[in-house]
């Protein structure tokens, strides 16, 4: 086996970011269980304080359904943060290892930066969405999270992955 055939690890700071992301995911998951009632109460109170934002009409049979949907989505956002942060931590480690091994110096640096920033930032969008639901509503909160986090960070990851795929294909054709 030659030195060129060996796997290369990404820089330590990338590994630190990935591990911290997984730690945040686990903390988020544990907090969701430990503070489930407190979180639900806080979100419900915040929504009741903003009836116009959520379109509450003052009739229990109508409003309960609206509040229930918002609370389900609030909880879903926290769960999705937990799942995506766990998964993206591993994705960062796996893809930056490939980039470090096959990306070359310049392309490798750019790829690692994109994959790390994109992978670490993307799950935070779900956390932001959950936090915004009580204040801005389901749809507006989602739109803010989409444009400020999901699209830029998710886009960075997708671009980097396709770039990496192209590099790997090029390597394959050259062999």
């Amino acid at each position: 086996m030659t030195a060129d055939d060996a796997w290369r690890l990404p820089p330590w700071w990338v590994l630190l970011v990935a591990v911290l992301l997984i730690v945040c995911a686990e903390l988020g998951g544990a907090s969701m269980v430990r503070f489930k009632l407190e979180l639900a109460r806080w979100a419900r109170d915040a929504m009741l304080a903003r009836p116009a934002v959520h379109g509450l009409v003052g009739v229990r049979d109508v409003d309960e359904r609206i509040l229930d949907e918002a609370l389900v989505k609030f909880d879903a956002g926290l769960r999705l943060f937990h799942l995506h942060a766990e998964g993206m931590g591993l994705v960062i480690i796996a893809t930056t290892s490939v980039a470090a091994t096959l990306g070359g110096r310049r392309a490798g640096r750019a790829l690692i930066a994109l994959l790390t920033a994109g992978g670490a930032g993307y799950p935070l969008g779900y956390l932001l969405w959950s936090a915004l639901i009580p204040y801005r509503g389901i749809e507006e909160g989602k739109a803010i999270a989409e444009w400020s986090v999901w699209i830029p960070f998710g886009g960075a990851t997708i671009v980097a992955l396709w770039w990496l795929a192209g590099l790997v294909t090029l390597r394959m054709l050259r062999r």
């Binding site: 290369r8 379109g55 049979d61 359904r65 994705v91 980039a99 690692i112 998710g154 992955l161 394959m172």
Partner: protein, 241 residues
């Protein structure tokens, strides 16, 4: 060899390197979940009253009278009946309780049908009131309609079969009025999602792209009227003067 981002020497793992195809396969599987930032779907749940109604109904149908009685006596449905006694026919709760006690499923179902029709009627009346309030913006009026319609249908749907068995004219009239209300509440001419029984739209309504709160209010008035008549007609005092 220089490592990425200024690291002098990247660590090497002396493992067998992956084949290019393996790496491509891994990349392909990681790209798709990243691209799809789905946020899940919401399925409306029963509230305490509708869930309790279903439990009582199934217990009665299964002939489990003791279970039905326990569910009715300590359930959310009876509490709601008491809380709304002022707007319900006199002795509705007592008659329902007596029917459950004696195991008369048909009468019990009839009394509970009246209760849910009354709940839906009150919601329709409140929707009419809110749609007629002065100073409410057109956007708010347009948003109010579908929410009330959904709540009305959620209650009425529980007893629609019972209504159709007892008063088929009211059942058909209610469906038509509700379908019409849905048409005026919708922002597009797409098929109704709430009422699965709604059929083809009229040609004039098929091209509708904006809600019409004024016509919606008229349709909701009709819904309230039909349900009010149904409640009145189903009270024993009115039936057997």
């Amino acid at each position: 060899m220089t490592g990425p981002l200024g690291r002098p020497e990247a660590l090497r793992l002396f493992l067998r390197p992956p084949t290019v195809l393996t790496v491509l396969a891994v990349l392909a599987t990681t790209a798709s979940p990243v691209a799809a930032h789905h946020v899940g779907t919401y399925v409306p749940k029963d509230n305490a009253v509708s869930a309790n109604f279903k439990e009582i109904k199934f217990a009665l149908q299964a002939g489990k009278l003791d279970v039905a009685l326990r569910l009715f006596e300590g359930g959310a449905l009876r509490r709601e009946m008491r809380a709304r006694a002022a707007t319900l026919p006199q002795d509705l709760e007592a008659e329902a309780l007596a029917a459950v006690r004696t195991g008369d499923a048909r009468v019990a179902e009839g009394r509970l049908m009246v209760f849910f029709a009354a709940l839906a009627r009150d919601l329709a009346r409140e929707a009419v009131r809110q749609l007629a309030e002065p100073g409410v913006s057109p956007e708010t009026r347009a948003a109010i309609g579908p929410k009330f319609l959904e709540a009305i249908w959620r209650y009425y749907n529980l007893v629609d079969f019972a209504v159709s068995m007892r008063d088929s004219k009211s059942s058909v009239a209610m469906r038509l009025a509700f379908d019409e209300a849905e048409t005026y509440a919708k922002t597009s001419a797409a098929p109704a999602a709430v009422n699965p029984c709604s059929g083809q739209r009229r040609a004039a309504d098929r091209g509708r792209t904006a809600p019409d709160p004024d016509r919606l209010r008229a349709s909701l008035e009709r819904v309230a009227q039909i349900l009010g008549d149904l409640v009145e007609a189903s009270t024993p005092a009115r039936r057997n003067p």
